[in-house]
Symmetry: C2
């Protein structure tokens, strides 16, 4: 607390001269942007060189460049293989949008709640923040979070990077529904976004009274634009598409709205030719994030690490096989294990240098066990096309005798 006592007084200019790598740029709009972009001029002994000064925002090390894998302008994948613990930094949260990220002025933002209600109301952002708040750490996952045509050189980011976890804060949708007076016959509501796709989904009213949140904060700060700034719906455990971003309108009704996003898309073909609709809940899934492609292993003790999650509640168990699914052992779960949340698992294993496959399989508190691809295909028929919704097979990694790690499975059937 007493800067006057410090050994060294470091000005910004001095630091730039000394360590050669940091610039603090002020943008035209007056925002401070701290850029650390040199890995070249690192002092041999950092104790002999004055360090960088305190700044309004703390940048990443120039040696750390985690990035989402952005694809086609409308999707980006969280780098799960680079992350530890369970929180996803907000700027690495996966994104999926259907007409880009809208720019919304929070002062002009309004949420309309109307339809089968006693008192239709509009809420400003300030009004939403004035209501009693609630905070919840949970995952969001795109229901299409698995590339069916993955090849051996698929990383955890590409295999499962359409799920991320944040600590969300907002107002319970139940609070807003009590405010407007939802009529007894209103069983469904429409949630509509203000993006150019006007994304809209029908949601059973029961979910609102269970655990739905209109979230305005993510990991402590304002929700980021790619995640729905200034406010989004958050339906813990349900397919990401239903947690409508840039939420502008909620309409109560006695029936589902049959929007484009729940008829032509986000429905699941079944084996008999029927199609499953309103398959909201994300089933339990796990993925090993280390070791995984493109890591190269050395023989010896390693900790197999990964994430497991279920839209139905708490993860109770993760089993690891290091012998191509012949035998399974229980992994350790990092506490606290939260409901509908990414759960970090760890399993200590000594790799003897011989080729094998390692796999993870999880189970949630409802007793549901993550299926194999063969089990899924028996139930639903083999998926057609490049992706399938709600496809959560056991997956794993093949370790070769030179320590190279690839996605496990035969070509075309890698799980």
């Amino acid at each position: 607390m007493n800067p006057g006592d410090d050994k060294t007084n470091v000005s910004r200019r001095e630091f730039i001269a000394a360590a050669g790598g940091v610039a603090i740029v002020r943008s035209a709009a007056g925002e401070n942007i701290q850029v650390t972009d040199s890995t070249a001029n690192v002092p041999a002994d950092p104790t002999k060189v004055p360090g960088a000064p305190a700044t309004p925002l703390g940048a990443r090390s120039a040696f750390e460049r985690p990035e989402r894998r952005a694809l086609g302008g409308a999707i980006s994948f969280t780098p799960l293989h680079e992350l530890h613990g369970t929180i996803t930094p907000a700027d690495l949260h996966f994104e999926r949008h259907h007409a880009g990220i809208p720019t919304i002025d929070p002062e002009r933002y309004e949420l309309l709640v109307h339809g089968m209600v006693e008192r239709p109301m509009k809420f400003s952002l300030a009004e939403l923040k004035r209501f009693p708040a609630t905070t919840r750490t949970c995952f969001i996952e795109c229901s299409g979070n698995l590339p069916l045509r993955a090849n051996a050189k698929t990383s955890p980011q590409s295999l499962a990077g359409l799920t991320s976890q944040s600590e969300w804060t907002g107002v319970s949708l139940a609070t807003l529904f009590r405010e407007v007076g939802v009529r007894p016959k209103a069983n469904w509501f429409l949630a509509e976004g203000s993006d150019a796709a006007v994304m809209a989904r029908s949601i059973p009213v029961d979910k609102a009274f269970d655990d739905a949140i209109v979230a305005y904060a993510q990991n402590g700060e304002a929700v980021r634009p790619a995640q729905g700034y200034p406010a989004r719906l958050l339906l813990p455990g349900w397919e990401g598409n239903t947690s409508v971003k840039w939420l502008r309108r909620i309409e109560l009704s006695d029936r589902a709205f049959q929007t484009r996003e729940e008829t032509s898309k986000y429905t699941d073909p079944l084996r008999d030719g029927a199609v499953r609709q309103f398959s909201f809940v994300m089933d339990a899934r796990s993925v090993i994030t280390f070791p995984a492609y493109p890591v190269r292993l050395e023989p010896g003790w390693i900790e197999i690490r990964g994430l497991a999650w279920s839209g139905r509640g708490r993860i109770t168990q993760v089993d690891i096989s290091t012998d191509r699914a012949q035998s399974w052992s229980r992994a350790e779960l990092q506490t606290p294990v939260l409901s509908k949340a990414h759960t970090r698992f760890r399993y200590l294993w000594k790799w003897d240098g011989r080729p094998t496959d390692i796999l993870s399989r999880t189970r949630d508190e409802t007793g549901y066990t993550q299926p194999t691809r063969a089990q899924l295909d028996t139930t639903r028929g083999k998926p057609q096309g490049p992706f399938a919704y709600h496809y959560n097979p056991v997956t794993g990694w093949r370790i070769e005798d030179d320590g190279a790690v690839y996605l496990a499975g035969a070509p075309g059937e890698r799980y």
Copy 2:
């Protein structure tokens, strides 16, 4: 998952033309920097304009500019009044350093553990990451986290912004100590940083076997340079200064080392002229973050919000007074309540428009109750100088009849 189906294909150029505000800059070193710096050209109807594309990093909204308050190059304060929930975004985590932030190449980083051990060892960063990992969400607080000469126009950021919370991941120090074989007579260890101040503290070995971590990850990603990249000591619940950043050396001994940071500084004068040394644990404290200066209140229902924490364990209770400490009511605690962690409290209150003071007081699972300033001064004598270590009085806010909110208390004795 199927970008080809999207309603709108948005190129970066189109978005810049359409919404006028986003640029993605590639630095000389190849790092992508996304800058959203226009609040001027916001579309009247965002559904009529293509939105921004997916990017490697998701920037904040141009309308949101949270910043640490940086002071004198060696301190910056977390904007507690702008945050929700309990996680502090990594770039807003408070910082305190004594000779600036060193630049460290992770490939050259080594942690030496030696002294009274069977096998002195050096660990590379890769080796630290190879050990079994553990994850823990906890606060770090500077022991000087209270300006004694605060005036009425002091915000929560200035009043208590030297505490922040992250989800930390690393290796238990106990694991490393078992690896090197700590000798039975080794009761203390020195933790030394590789900053230009060569910050060093003596720590009892018991803390290592209790819950100390050598942390390399913060909120999922690599620890940021201002918080000790590539690895720092983390002593949950203890004064921030002991969680030595840029950790380079640990030396085991049968006595304390009496470093500069535990003799001339980070000691506490007591009433009788004696000085308390090695006062490691941060006592329980709470702070109301809303409403607080510089908010202006309107009469009606509001939710009083804040944070409480204790270095001794879980927070069990936060009481709120809205009548200048005449009566107290229990606030709600956001679950899960974690040990040695920021705990969000909330209390619904109807402000009638009349002047009053609102205060918060917390209690932890050891039965310790946050004292008043008068109680602290009776025990320790009135603090001299601009700050005191481990000074955790009940604080609050004065609300005036026009709704203006100021730090409560008489000038010079504001708590």
